[in-house]
């Protein structure tokens, strides 16, 4: 069964919507705007941050927004727009939704409020925490944010009741989401499904972790966003066809070896080679390797570096690159796009898309 993309939407540093991608600037270290979200905890960190979300894209009441993580908000916007573009209006309880999701996204201010009431003489007191600290905030919803709420807030808002799955992702989990969405259609669990990822690297704890473990020193530009594809088996009015999805395990092997082998396999078996490659590397070494492998294997192919547009948005990175790939096809800049993503989990993601329903 063939799988088609009938909606592709994104929220990113470029703004809200796929149309905003066409005028994207290229990010360069040293010229990045400092992150607003990190301004208090890590002032001056340059980031690929989603600009202020325009009022018409606000989907939630202030009360609802306060309960949602940043990733949940971004996912909700992208899901709503993808559903609209796909014209998935009816029988929403049968529409599947599979997302790659990230980690904590709550308010550090609330953690500080909890500490203020729970630390005495330089030490944490469980007695105080139990007595008064827990009344400062709900740690389950503000700090250890439930991962799957990035999926569930949009599914609740949009009434999506089909098969679903939330996969923790530093890259590959988002590919799993796409695989499972396509499989759920192929295997008859549903006829329409959404797939994508949403995340932010601009939460203070996440950024502290990335900085401490050396990612920041290796060219990682922190970003955030959400990308969502709407999939179905009907090619009518399709933006693109999803030709293949694969995850190649790079951990324990060199990225070069894995990428070269994957490209060799596709060159040997594919009916036609891509004329455009979108790479989504997580840092400088990854970028150089993917570029070199593509240039060695696929001559005369155009290449776009999605990470130079979106930064590293963790679970969102592959999905943003897919939406960019679809956009290239829709605008006629390519007929067949290969998206190679390499996340900080060291897995290589592979997605091949072709224009419309034609093959």
């Amino acid at each position: 069964m063939r799988i088609f993309v009938v909606g592709a939407e994104a929220v990113s540093v470029c703004g809200v919507g796929r149309a905003a991608l066409a005028s994207h600037p290229v990010l360069r270290t040293g010229t990045l705007l400092p992150s607003r979200q990190l301004a208090r905890t890590h002032p001056g960190v340059g980031a690929a941050e989603v600009p202020e979300i325009p009022e018409e894209a606000e989907l939630f009441s202030p009360r609802a927004t306060a309960r949602m993580s940043r990733a949940s908000q971004l996912a909700s916007i992208a899901v709503k727009r993808a559903l609209r573009e796909a014209d998935f209006r009816d029988a929403r309880h049968e529409i599947g939704c599979f997302l790659g999701v990230g980690g904590s996204g709550g308010s550090v201010g609330e953690v500080e409020a909890m500490l203020s009431t729970s630390v005495t003489e330089g030490a944490l007191s469980y007695r105080l925490l139990g007595n008064v600290g827990l009344s400062a905030c709900n740690p389950l919803l503000t700090f250890q944010t439930l991962h799957n709420f990035t999926l569930c807030h949009p599914t609740i808002a949009e009434g999506l009741g089909g098969p679903n799955g939330a996969f923790f992702s530093r890259g590959a989990g988002t590919l799993v989401a796409l695989e499972e969405a396509a499989a759920s259609i192929r295997e008859g669990d549903c006829t329409r499904a959404l797939a994508g990822g949403a995340d932010t690297a601009l939460h203070p704890v996440t950024w502290a972790e990335l900085a401490r473990t050396g990612y920041a020193e290796n060219g990682l530009i922190p970003g955030e966003g959400a990308g969502v594809l709407a999939l179905t088996s009907s090619g009518e009015g399709a933006l693109a066809e999803l030709e293949s999805v694969a995850i190649h395990r790079a951990r324990g092997k060199t990225l070069e070896r894995v990428t070269t082998r994957a490209l060799h396999e596709v060159a040997a078996g594919a009916p036609a080679l891509p004329d455009h490659v979108v790479i989504a590397p997580w840092g400088d070494a990854s970028r150089a390797c993917l570029r070199a492998c593509v240039e060695a294997r696929l001559q005369r192919v155009a290449m776009t570096d999605a990470s130079r547009i979106f930064g590293e948005s963790l679970a969102a990175s592959p999905a943003l690159a897919w939406v960019l790939g679809v956009d290239l096809l829709v605008r006629g800049a390519a007929t067949r796009v290969l998206v190679l993503s390499h996340g900080i989990d060291e897995e290589l993601g592979w997605v091949q898309l072709s224009r419309g329903g034609a093959r």
Binding site: R67, F143, G161, G165, A183, A208
Partner: protein, 428 residues
């Protein structure tokens, strides 16, 4: 299609380390809820839990239980030193996986296995912030190299999966399911899907979680999910007097492969994975759809995939949290799917005995469900004494029920409205 089977199982629960501890406890109709010992919960709204009875998740504990072909002690020692074992769900997963690996007689030829793991919330270590906390604010600039770099501030959600992959030298892909309390069941379903699609020859799968820590316990209490009673019978699934859940911790892991592969290497499967399904409530983040219609869709999808009807189901292992809202909604879902058969299909929940293992709940309850095939015994529902007319199904009481059933249907429902059902079949 090559049918997926379970060939190995391992478990860590409030009954202790090992699936036999779980099965024996359930076979006795026992409960394992007790006062929290791992930290001073005296002022917390919840003071009982299904806590795994180990003093510490240490190298010594793992060395006692891991029986692998290679010497893993140096690796474990390194993990203890760098904080990897700090979040109890990681060592629990290692212990359960080692048991599953051994019971499946897995070895070098299974190293191509993939991993499908339901992994719980990142655990936040509030104490790590204390040294940075000055004048009411966290001074992030004073954050320096840590003696526990792997789990500074929080344990990464994917850490247990990374450890499992490294310990067992798995060559396949790693999938971390983060679908809240539906994740354990979905992770096993995903394993079966990978095997049936030919995407993986073998999958190590299951779930691990521990919310028996100050912030998680406090957070769940703020939501109002746990029973306010700090008593051993605090969780009373489907009982008229129920007033909330009890938090548990632990892990259950399985080895899943195709039936042909298992038979070819001389391993008798423990169960067939016949079908699975999922759905979304699309209702509210922390409350189920009251009429159970969305949960019913997950069950119907699972039965449809299995090619079975309501009359084929011999036993339902329920999600059965013991909360006011979940149990009647689930009972309605079961009745909607099973129709008149619901009068005679036994249903039980083990959460009164071991607590709610959250992300790992589906996995531990699948392990418990294997009791039906291993010993012709359906687990009882600890603390279920008074029938609730709102839960109009045949709930097994506190003691297990002897019965030889061929098909088991397992439900798991998560916060956010994610529902999952798996159908297991007996292997004769």
């Amino acid at each position: 299609v090559s049918r997926a089977v379970i060939t190995g199982v391992g478990a860590v629960s409030a009954f202790g380390v090992g699936v036999d501890a779980l099965w024996n406890g359930l076979a006795r109709g026992a409960g394992a809820i007790s006062e929290i010992r791992s930290f001073d919960a005296g002022t917390f709204p919840t003071r009982v839990a299904g806590e795994v009875p180990v003093a510490a998740a240490s190298t010594a504990l793992l060395a006692d239980h891991l029986r692998l072909e290679r010497d893993v002690l140096p690796l474990i020692s390194q993990w203890e030193a760098d904080g990897t074992l700090r979040d109890r769900k990681t060592p629990f997963a290692l212990l359960a996986a080692a048991e599953a690996w051994g019971s499946a007689q897995a070895g070098a030829s299974e190293k191509a296995a993939s991993l499908s793991l339901a992994s719980g919330l990142e655990q936040c270590f509030l104490e790590d912030f204390v040294s940075l906390f000055r004048d009411g604010r966290i001074d992030w600039n004073s954050d320096r190299a840590s003696a526990l770099p792997k789990t500074r501030f929080r344990s990464p959600a994917e850490l247990p999966a990374r450890c499992l992959s490294e310990l067992f030298e798995l060559e396949g892909r790693t999938i971390v399911n983060a679908s809240a309390c539906a994740a354990g069941t979905l992770a096993v379903a995903h394993a079966a899907a990978l095997v049936e699609r030919g995407s993986a020859p073998v999958v190590l799968c299951g779930g691990t979680d521990s919310l028996v820590n100050p912030l998680a316990l406090g957070g769940m209490s703020r939501i109002g999910a746990p029973s306010p009673r700090a008593e051993r019978d605090a969780c009373r699934p489907f009982d008229r007097r129920r007033d909330g859940l009890v938090i548990g911790e632990g892990s259950a892991m399985f080895v899943v492969e195709s039936e042909e592969r298992a038979r070819a290497r001389g391993v008798k499967p423990l169960a067939r994975i016949l079908g699975w399904g999922s759905s979304g409530d699309a209702h509210r983040p922390t409350a189920p759809l009251p009429d159970g219609s969305a949960a019913a869709r997950a069950m119907e999808r699972a039965l449809s995939r299995a090619g079975l009807g309501a009359g084929d189901v011999g036993y339902v292992n329920a999600h059965g949290t013991g909360t006011l809202l979940n149990d009647p909604a689930e009972a309605r879902a079961i009745r909607k799917v099973l129709g008149a058969h619901a009068d005679r299909v036994p249903v039980s929940s083990i959460k009164g005995a071991v607590g709610h293992l959250m992300v790992a709940s589906g996995a531990i309850e699948l392990a418990a469900s294997l009791l039906a095939f291993e010993r012709d015994l359906l687990p009882g529902t600890a603390n279920h004494r008074e029938r609730d007319p709102e839960c109009d199904i045949d709930v097994i009481g506190e003691m297990p029920r002897a019965a030889a059933v061929d098909v088991v249907l397992k439900n798991s429902f998560g916060f956010g409205g994610q529902n999952a059902t798996l159908v297991l079949g007996r292997v004769r």
